[in-house]
């Protein structure tokens, strides 16, 4: 087992990883930009290294400074968290070259999974159902339009190098295809430096349901159930829950088995997530696989009792999985709300500022994952996540009540600061959501209805 780990991240995930390291008796090296000098993970760490100015490009994304920090402090492993370098194959490769264990899959696997077209091919070969779509990127706008006709509208145009909700456009009307194609390829070129796109069927009324998997170095893999992440705004998740109200136990088992099959087919190692869309008839289709721990991982932890970061570290240290599939049990219902420092009344504009008052809820089965503390600052340089509020209860009805209670206790005050907590509470009270009958366009409908327009 490692004796010292460097956490190449910041905010809530850095603190969360540090906590498990502490429990495992592993020393923590925190790295921080100038903007994060006075943050909880830096205070908790055994060693802290200042690695750059606030801009992520020069700090949390600047590989040489992070590697040097690891070498200087004798860190045996690096945990990349999520975002930043967590799915950067170059970073994984450099770690390997420097003799530092990378908590995650190999650079080669990451490279495959970072290319949506390659991944779809691998998953298709593993027998996972895919949405009708192109396995190769389309060659031209005419090619794309022809494929769209073959696939059947509505379609979605997706950048090969995109992911996480970025670089995609839905086309419902064939007349709109050319404009959408040109717009998406131009944006993909500008943002990712890669203008290739592929085209697939767009499912109406689908749910985003992802499956958590764990794979070890000996080729063993298990799934830890699903997370329903259908409540999204502009493809950014707002609320996640487990179990999904759309899944029957049979569907859960089938999707879990498919996810493990797919992960093992790409030789995955560590904690990963296989994303599916599930239509109203209960058919599921592979979307993408994420090669990192996810923001919403606490939802799985609360219902399974398994510490995912602990498992990641054990696997990275070469240990085999500690559990067989039959030993994984699911209990109750968990919900997570991502509370962002954004103003819903101003188009969810981020509101950086000083946290004069920050009081978190507590109480039964109420968990807060946050990198912020009272007196600290919500920085304009990074994402606007203020805190993840997670609750568990024996069933969904009680979990909804518990989350509403918890969000009611949350107090955030500071000049110019706003949060999405009230928006979240409004969603929790929405009849469609409460009935579990929402789908992936729920937030759009919810916001349109709130404005008084037609749903």
């Amino acid at each position: 087992m490692f004796s010292r780990i460097l956490i190449a991240n910041r905010g809530e995930i850095a603190l969360r990883v540090a906590r498990t390291c502490r429990e495992l008796g592993i020393e923590v090296v925190a790295v921080y930009s100038t903007a994060d000098r006075d943050t909880p993970v830096v205070r908790m760490a055994d060693v802290a290294v200042h690695i750059g100015p606030p801009a992520a490009k020069a700090s949390y994304l600047y590989i040489p400074n992070i590697i040097e920090a690891a070498l200087q402090t004798g860190a045996e492993a690096i945990h990349p968290g999520y975002g930043f370098l967590s799915e950067d194959p170059d970073f994984a490769e450099i770690c390997a070259k420097e003799g530092i264990a990378f908590v995650g899959p190999s650079a080669e696997v990451m490279q495959h999974l970072g290319n949506k077209a390659v991944t779809r091919g691998l998953m298709s070969d593993a027998g996972l159902p895919l949405l009708p779509g192109t396995l190769e990127p389309v060659q031209s706008v005419r090619d794309g339009a022809a494929e769209a006709e073959r696939i059947g509208y509505p379609v979605i145009i997706k950048a090969v190098a995109g992911g996480g909700g970025r670089g995609m456009a839905v086309v419902r009307d064939p007349d709109d295809f050319v404009e959408a194609y040109l717009r998406t390829t131009a944006a993909a070129h500008a943002v990712f430096g890669d203008d290739r796109v592929y085209v697939e069927r767009f499912l109406v009324g689908a749910r985003h349901v992802e499956v958590q998997v764990l794979c070890d170095n000996d080729g063993a893999g298990i799934h830890l159930g699903e997370r329903d992440c259908s409540v999204q705004r502009r493809h950014q998740k707002l609320i996640e829950e487990m179990p999904s109200t759309r899944l029957t136990p049979e569907l859960r088992a089938a999707m879990g088995a498919a996810a493990v099959r797919g992960a093992l087919a790409v030789r995955y190692r560590g904690a990963g997530t296989v994303e599916f869309l599930v239509d109203s008839a209960g058919r599921f289709y592979f979307m993408e696989m994420n090669a990192r721990i996810q923001v919403e991982h606490p939802v799985t932890e609360m219902t399974t009792g398994i510490d995912l970061v602990r498992e990641q570290i054990r696997i990275a240290a070469g240990q085999p999985l500690g559990l067989r599939q039959e030993q994984v049990t699911f209990s109750g219902a968990a919900i997570e709300c991502r509370i962002n420092a954004e103003d819903p009344d101003r188009g969810f504009a981020p509101t950086p500022g000083v946290l004069d008052v920050l009081e978190f809820p507590g109480g039964p089965w109420t968990r807060i994952d946050s990198g912020c503390a009272a007196g600290g600052r919500v920085s304009p340089h990074y994402d606007s996540l203020l805190a993840k509020v997670i609750v568990w209860a024996p069933d969904r009805v009680q979990a909804l009540a518990r989350m509403d209670r918890a969000l009611g206790e949350l107090r955030v005050e500071g000049r110019g600061l706003a949060t999405t907590a009230a928006f979240h509470r409004a969603i929790l009270r929405d009849p469609t959501f409460r009935a579990g009958e929402h789908s992936i366009d729920f937030v759009d409908r919810f916001m349109t209805a709130a404005k008084g327009g037609s749903a």
């Binding site: 100038t34 908790m44 060693v47 802290a48 290294v49 750059g52 400074n65 040097e68 450099i94």
Partner: protein, 167 residues
């Protein structure tokens, strides 16, 4: 119990009052006794903190006990404002994380020694990071007053390396 690898904060050439206030607040929070005096300056000068221990006023600079990380900053901030004269100091800081080398090769003469006058753009040291050598450049002219790190010492981003006084 955080071991801060970073060196003390010196405002250096940046005189941000807001940053000084934030720093002072941070330091005051970590004091072992009630604060008596806080002095903030801008420009090239730093923060002075005075606090009471057992009713006796003690200046930061006089505390000899090895302090926890935050207090070290308080002590050093006062010391780091420079020797008690009216001279203006500029500190050349590390632009990246790496290992400091005082000379171009082992056994060669160091780039600079105390007393040398440097020109803007002059190399005052090297930083090795991932097998690549990077020059540490002085932005301004000045006389080398103090070399703050040892040869082959690992340094972090923004760590003070060389103090320059007026030429």
């Amino acid at each position: 119990m955080t071991e801060q690898v970073e060196q003390p904060v010196t405002p250096g050439t940046r005189g941000d009052l807001g940053e000084l206030c934030a720093r002072a607040t941070e330091l005051v929070r970590g004091l072992p006794g009630p604060v008596r005096r806080v002095a903030l300056r801008t420009g090239d000068h730093g923060v002075d903190i005075e606090w009471s221990v057992s009713g006796e006023p003690v200046t930061a600079a006089e505390v000899a006990v090895p302090p926890p990380a935050r207090l070290a900053a308080a002590t050093d901030a006062a010391i780091d404002a420079g020797p008690a004269d009216d001279a203006t100091y500029v500190v050349v800081r590390a632009p990246l994380v790496g290992t400091f080398y005082a000379a171009p090769q082992p056994g060669a003469a160091p780039f600079v020694v105390v007393g040398d006058v440097v020109e803007p753009g002059q190399t005052v040291g090297m930083l090795e990071a991932m097998k690549l050598m990077n020059h540490v450049i002085a932005d301004t002219a000045g006389r080398v007053v103090e070399i703050l790190v040892a040869n082959r010492e690992p340094v972090e981003f923004d760590q003070p390396l060389v103090r320059l006084g007026t030429p």
